[in-house]
């Protein structure tokens, strides 16, 4: 939006420029080749953009994010092409908008679509490589009862070694060589202070090579079942034993104690034959499973249809009530006989100026059954369960949404009414039409031409009016005893939220699939709605 405005503002000298440009193209002194002051400003700015893009490419290469590299490379070429080419005048205006559109809309939409086909969520949070690594580090355990060794890390060029004191004797071991008595070692108390031929690493040196130090495993003896020494902080070592080993060639995990073999299954987990799985799993494509789950999982399909019905009721009634009130007020305040119209109009749009979620929170406080202002002051201490009774909670939501929404309708109706030419109405009156007849047959149809698309948009907005529901009732009062926590006032989008996030275990894949389903519903309804409004235009 703001991007659009900036662009508009940038269109300096709007009416005069295009013809000029055409002339200059034909005349050979292209704007792009005109080495004036403007050219150098452009040169500097594009150079800066190029520098940022190249930096981004290098960074992305460093972390091997090839999609980003490709995107930035294309962008780099496009920017230079468009801004130095002679022919790409419209591109100069379109490119920034297109780029934003891609990053903030297209990319997000594609990504949601992609996630909807995966099992991304708790327990399947990352790649298989990460899962393998996590399983291995979670199952490398300190050998019970093994001592803690005060450790000295020493280095010989690139090679690192651990030096510890065992049975009163200094020992040294590397990744290949198990612990063995070290020659020429100096010992102070229970810690080795130096080994001949090896350089002792101090804290700063340890910090420099920390990944090597932490990854180093020094076998405790020739027998691999004795485990290996490892350190996490560079100053103390413990003997560890892996209880699960990964066979990279066969792609299986084996429990060294029980011998159980875990093989990868189709849902991104290492699973044994008896059905037990290792955690964590990883993200995999699960096809249409997330979509079918919405209809086959009884936990979800049970409340799904009652929530779907309420969503439609809520969205339709919200549009109808706000439009009715907004239109009525607009007609009243459009009459020149009303004194102080300007004042009333600005007062009426006040609710529109409040952030919606904030207003919902304030209303929630005011409608509290025991302490709310409405019950305490307005109704003199009554205890009307505004938000805790299933029916009243729905009524409250519609009323609050009416309060929030009518100023918008009032504004657009006022605008539309004022754009209806006065002479049309006047000639109708001259022809003898009654006041009511004029409203019904002239004003209203003309009004609908411009307002009907906004009603469709308002429907789509309310269909997904998450913040109102979430802030006002949180979907409550909850259904009793349902296997997922949803309530009488939940609409589809807030149900998605509670299924995907509040039920404790996050299911991003499923949430994405449900939001795509909602998008389809809203899309179909809006399409039908817009088709109807086109008919109005032909009136």
């Amino acid at each position: 939006m703001s991007q659009q405005q900036t662009l508009d503002a940038q269109g300096e000298a709007p009416p005069g420029q295009p013809p000029q440009r055409r002339r200059s193209l034909g005349g050979g002194t292209s704007h792009a080749r005109d080495f004036g002051k403007g050219f150098f400003v452009k040169l500097v700015l594009v150079a800066l953009i190029d520098a940022v893009a190249v930096f981004g490419i290098l960074e992305a290469v460093a972390v091997q994010q090839w999609a980003i590299v490709a995107f930035l490379a294309v962008l780099l070429v496009a920017v230079n092409g468009v801004y130095f080419s002679r022919r790409a005048l419209p591109g100069k205006y379109l490119l920034p908008g297109l780029v934003f559109l891609f990053v903030y809309v297209v990319f997000t939409a594609i990504y949601t679509g992609y996630v909807a086909f995966t099992n991304y969520g708790d327990g399947h949070n990352s790649t298989k490589a990460d899962a393998v690594e996590a399983i291995l580090i979670q199952n490398e355990r300190r050998v019970e009862g093994s001592p803690a060794y005060p450790l000295t890390v020493v280095a010989q060029g690139d090679e690192l070694a651990f030096a510890v004191v065992q049975d009163g004797q200094a020992q040294l071991g590397t990744a290949e060589e198990p612990l063995a008595p070290a020659e020429g070692a100096t010992v102070e108390g229970d810690r080795v202070t130096g080994v001949a031929g090896w350089q002792t690493l101090d804290f700063a040196a340890l910090a420099q090579r920390q990944e090597e130090v932490v990854d180093l495993r020094v076998p405790a003896s020739d027998d691999p079942t004795d485990g290996s020494l490892r350190t996490q902080d560079g100053t103390t070592a413990y003997v560890y034993q892996s209880t699960i080993v990964y066979d990279e060639a066969a792609d299986t995990m084996t429990d060294t104690e029980t011998g159980t073999v875990y093989t990868p299954d189709s849902h991104g987990s290492f699973r044994a034959e008896d059905g037990t799985a290792l955690t964590p799993g990883w993200r995999v494509n699960v096809g249409l499973e997330n979509f079918t789950k919405a209809f086959t999982d009884p936990r979800i399909s049970g409340p799904f249809f009652s929530i779907l019905a309420w969503t439609f009721v809520f969205a339709i009634l919200s549009v109808v009530t706000t439009f009715a009130l907004g239109l009525a007020l607009a007609i009243v305040f459009n009459d020149p006989r009303v004194k102080g119209r300007r004042f009333y109009r600005s007062m009426l749009i006040l609710p529109y100026a409040f952030p919606g979620f904030l207003a919902a929170l304030v209303w929630k406080g005011m409608l509290n059954v025991d302490y709310g202002w409405v019950n305490e002051v307005l109704l003199g201490g009554a205890s009307v369960p505004w938000l805790t009774s299933p029916v009243l909670a729905k009524v409250s939501i519609l009323l609050v949404n009416l309060w929030l929404g009518f100023p918008y309708m009032f504004l657009v109706c006022t605008g539309a009414l004022q754009s209806i030419p006065g002479d049309v109405i006047e000639s109708a009156r001259v022809d003898g039409a009654s006041r009511w007849r004029v409203q019904r047959s002239i004003v209203f149809p003309l009004l609908m031409v411009s307002v009907a698309p906004l009603l469709v948009a308002s429907f789509a907005f309310n269909f997904n009016n998450f913040s109102l529901i979430y802030m006002l009732t949180g979907g409550g009062p909850n259904f009793e005893g349902t296997p997922i926590i949803v309530g009488h006032t939940d609409i589809l989008i807030s149900m998605v939220y509670s299924v995907a996030f509040e039920s404790g275990v996050k299911q991003y894949g499923f949430a994405s699939a449900l939001s795509i389903l909602i998008f389809v519903i809203v899309g179909v309804v809006s399409y039908l709605g817009f088709r109807q409004t086109r008919r109005l235009e032909n009136f």
Partner: protein
């Protein structure tokens, strides 16, 4: 040529956005390149640590002192307490996560299940901590966090209204509170979605813990809140609701304000509010919650601590900070002074001379840590929702509602 400006902004914004998506190398790269400079203490590395807004102030002096001691700079990143946990789980795999995160022990299950935290070896230092604190961070036999503070709820009394509590049962306490003539006899915060945490002492006094515990005190997978004991508690809740002792419309803020305004002599709450009470000049005492069902009322114990990311590129420095520095008596005492929670390190806890905190310590002495299994999120939701429905009278038959809840909880546990 001013039209280039939005393009520049676009690309700069883009580069930031995209590098935020995909750049794993940015955190903790300070180690490889630092050359020792003359006067200033040598910078040996940089750690990134996530802290939420409630804990960041007490962490600031700690990391300053750590930098002076070791030359390791800790880059504190403030995260919103509602997001920090989810963000950690989703960002560690992208390489954008921190090296260390400060949080509560009941996150452990979710973190381990998603493979985002690394095991920690405390060695001999473990014996210096309260057993329940170390147990709280232990998941599947491995330790994943280093505790620094313990908290639990208890009964807080306003000494200006009631100076002596003779009640030995919760019913007697309610009578005492009523005799005091205040607006409420006692407040326990609930809210729309319920609050099972604050009702847990009453529930355990009916011998209906969330999960059954084995001999060593750790939880089993078997629910303990079903059966006769749980049903008795459900009926008791319905009675308290009918008597207007409990109400779904009293949430945390309303409960706190009622106590601050002297509208109630008693409140069941934790150290997070007592600091506000003492600051407001109230004279308070902290007592164990009296039993409602005959057995001892045991609150949940919550433990604060530090986790190390599984994907940290600075594991050695992170361990130096978490295992070797955070476990010192000096640091634990410092954190207690700024944070107002009991230190998890026994040596530091023994020196606490604050009567309020001692009261909490006594009230939580027998409490067990909150379970940290990933399904707890679902448990809390079912639990609180049903309790508030019973209290509000929406659930006409408290026993049936309770049994249905146990059934749903069991399914949620079985499914995993």
């Amino acid at each position: 040529m001013r039209r280039s400006i939005p393009v520049l902004a676009a690309v700069a914004g883009l580069a930031l956005t995209l590098s935020a998506c995909g750049d794993g190398g940015a955190t903790g790269t300070g180690t490889g390149t630092t050359a020792p400079t003359s006067a200033a203490p040598t910078l040996t590395g940089t750690l990134t640590m996530w802290v939420d807004e409630t804990r960041i102030d007490s962490m600031k002096p700690i990391v300053e002192a750590f930098k002076e001691k070791t030359g390791v700079e800790v880059d504190l990143v403030q995260k919103i307490s509602g997001d920090i946990r989810t963000d950690f789980v989703s960002q560690v795999p992208t390489g954008e996560g921190p090296d260390v995160i400060i949080g509560a022990h009941d996150w452990t299950g979710e973190f381990v299940n998603n493979g985002v935290v690394a095991p920690i070896e405390l060695g001999d230092k473990a014996s210096g901590f309260a057993t329940s604190a170390v147990q709280a961070f232990t998941y599947d036999g491995q330790l994943y966090g280093v505790p620094y503070a313990i908290e639990n709820i208890a009964l807080v009394r306003n000494n200006d209204i009631v100076s002596d509590t003779k009640a030995t049962t919760f019913d007697e306490l309610v009578d005492e509170g009523k005799a005091a003539g205040t607006k409420y006899p006692v407040v326990i915060q609930q809210g729309d979605q319920g609050d099972a945490y604050h009702l847990y002492p009453l529930q355990t006094s009916f011998d209906a813990p969330i999960f059954k515990q084995d001999a060593s005190g750790s939880y089993t997978n078997e629910l303990g809140l079903g059966g006769e004991n749980g049903e008795k508690f459900a009926q008791y809740l319905a009675k308290l609701g009918k008597d207007k002792v409990l109400s779904g419309s009293i949430d945390g803020d309303k409960a706190k304000n009622a106590f601050l305004k002297g509208e109630t002599p008693y409140i069941v709450t934790g150290p997070w509010y007592t600091t506000e009470f003492t600051k407001a000049g109230l004279d308070i005492s902290v007592l164990p919650v009296p039993s409602a069902g005959g057995s001892e009322a045991k609150p949940f114990v919550g433990v604060q601590g530090a986790f190390i990311s599984a994907q940290s590129k600075n594991k050695l420095l992170a361990n130096e900070f978490v295992v070797n520095y955070l476990t010192t008596e000096e640091v634990q005492t410092e954190l207690y002074k700024s944070g107002g929670r009991l230190p998890a390190l026994t040596a530091a806890a023994d020196k606490v001379d604050d009567e309020v905190l001692k009261g909490f310590l006594a009230a939580g002495a027998t409490g067990a840590p909150m379970p940290s299994i990933p399904e707890m999120g679902a448990m809390w939701a079912f639990w609180g929702t049903t309790q508030v429905q019973i209290i509000n009278g929406q659930a006409k038959d408290p026993v049936a509602a309770w049994d249905k809840m146990v059934d749903n909880m069991q399914k949620a546990v079985d499914e995993s």
